[in-house]
């Protein structure tokens, strides 16, 4: 199964994780 997020955000939005990294609830995908 997979979850795909597509969203718009200001240009200064940055992903906090790298591809392939494991994530858990509460960890940020990214921040502004």
């Amino acid at each position: 199964s997979t979850i795909v997020l597509i969203f718009e955000a200001p240009k200064d939005f940055n992903f906090k994780l790298k591809a392939g990294q494991k994530i858990r609830f509460g960890e940020a995908l990214g921040s502004l």
Binding site: S1, T2, I3, V4, L5, I6, F7, E8, A9, P10, K11, F13, F15, K16, L17, A19, G20, Q21, K22, I23, R24, F25, G26, E27, A28, L29, G30, S31, L32
Partner: protein, 373 residues
């Protein structure tokens, strides 16, 4: 055959033929790997290998939607199958290989969670999986308890229970973690396989799957309650609603054994749902790299709406064994059903005369789950 010599008959036997073809194929693969390594040493980029049309068409050719309910019936617990609690549809000889006997299929697939599933204290977050959990799960009559654990909402800060949330401006992953010392690897570990800027949608660089975004949201256009302009692909300009914004794209892979509920990643409002009936091919990263636009072949539910920065969408893509997708607030949604034909889609708008905003979701709120079958 009668007149052939013994030497000729030897070569007609299937085993030597299999040995020769198998070793030939293995040799070819080794040569390819060697060639790729040499090209990498030279600094040359190796183009990704994509599946051909027949390779894409073959896996979903079977009656997957029809097989789903059958599989679910077979895999369902005796209690829910209205059988005696101590019986099972599956005889033990067939039951053990697929559940948790050492080396069993589900044990290999599920890894850690097999132990978790058999271990109530660990499941409820009261402690780590205990030794012998796998052996205890060997007594399970079917696979269903494992999946129930994978999407169960347990108390105590574990698997969707209360957990401290970060600052409001952060976007959360769509899954839950096991908080505190009872964290159980890898039940709640989900693997984002790629982050991409959807600006690449129009390009041919689909190695990372960025081009899937347009097809994934086919016909969904922000504004006007995200209604339904047919299967046309939305352009980037249609999705970006505010000047100065960009589109971002993130794929989170839930491996077998990962937690299979999903949560709202941020505060947003869901205004529209589009269900695409489809196949149930595996979506592991290897398959995603191999089959172009893999997610667009699979059963999926697209939720679209708005967050404070504009357009926001969450798509749940089903896969092998877990093609049934449930959205908690959408009781009309029925996925992985033979009554739907592939290529069609089913829309529902949550914006009504009485509710012009849609369904508000808060960050971390339970949103839905993937089900077996």
């Amino acid at each position: 055959v009668h007149t052939a010599t013994a030497r000729t008959l030897f070569w007609l036997r299937p085993l030597p033929i299999l040995l020769v073809t198998g070793s030939g194929y293995a040799g070819y693969r080794q040569y390819e790997k060697y060639r790729e390594q040499e090209l990498e040493k030279l600094g040359l980029e190796i183009p990704p290998k994509l599946a051909g049309p027949w390779e894409v068409a073959l896996p979903p050719a079977g009656p997957q939607a029809e097989a789903g309910p059958v599989e679910l019936y077979v895999q369902t617990c005796p209690e829910t199958a209205l059988l005696a609690p101590d019986s099972s549809l599956l005889p033990p000889a067939l039951r053990c290989p697929q559940t948790s006997q050492p080396g069993g299929m589900e044990a290999r697939e599920q890894g850690g969670p097999v132990q978790v599933g058999a271990n109530a204290p660990a499941v409820t977050g009261l402690g780590p999986p205990q030794p012998g959990g796998a052996a205890a799960l060997a007594a399970q009559a079917c696979v269903q308890p494992v999946y129930l654990d994978l999407r169960g909402k347990h108390e105590g800060g574990c698997r969707g229970g209360p957990a401290p949330l970060p600052q409001p401006q952060r976007v959360l992953p769509a899954q839950a973690e096991a908080a505190g010392p009872a964290r159980m690897w890898p039940a709640q570990c989900d693997q984002p396989v790629r982050w991409e800027d959807p600006e690449l949608w129009a390009g041919e660089e689909l190695r990372s799957g960025a081009g899937e975004g347009g097809h994934l949201l086919a016909g969904v256009v922000p504004g006007s309650a995200h209604l339904h302009r047919g299967p046309a692909l939305p352009s980037r300009n249609q999705l970006v609603t505010r000047e100065g914004n960009e589109l971002y794209h993130c794929v989170i892979y839930l491996a077998p054994g990962d937690y299979h509920c999903f949560h709202s990643p941020t505060d947003w409002t869901v205004s529209h749902r589009r269900h695409f009936p489809g196949s149930l091919m595996s979506v592991n990263p290897g398959m995603a790299r191999w089959i172009k636009e893999l997610f667009c072949h699979n059963e999926r539910v697209v939720l679209t709406g708005d967050w404070k920065h504009g357009f926001f969408s969450l798509t749940a893509v089903g896969a092998t064994n877990v093609g049934s997708i449930r959205i908690y607030f959408d009781r009309d949604l029925h996925t992985n059903s033979p009554r739907y034909s592939k290529g069609s889609y089913n829309d529902f708008s949550f914006v009504t005369h009485t509710n012009k905003e849609g369904i508000p979701m808060r960050k971390g709120e339970h949103l839905g789950e993937f089900n077996l079958g």
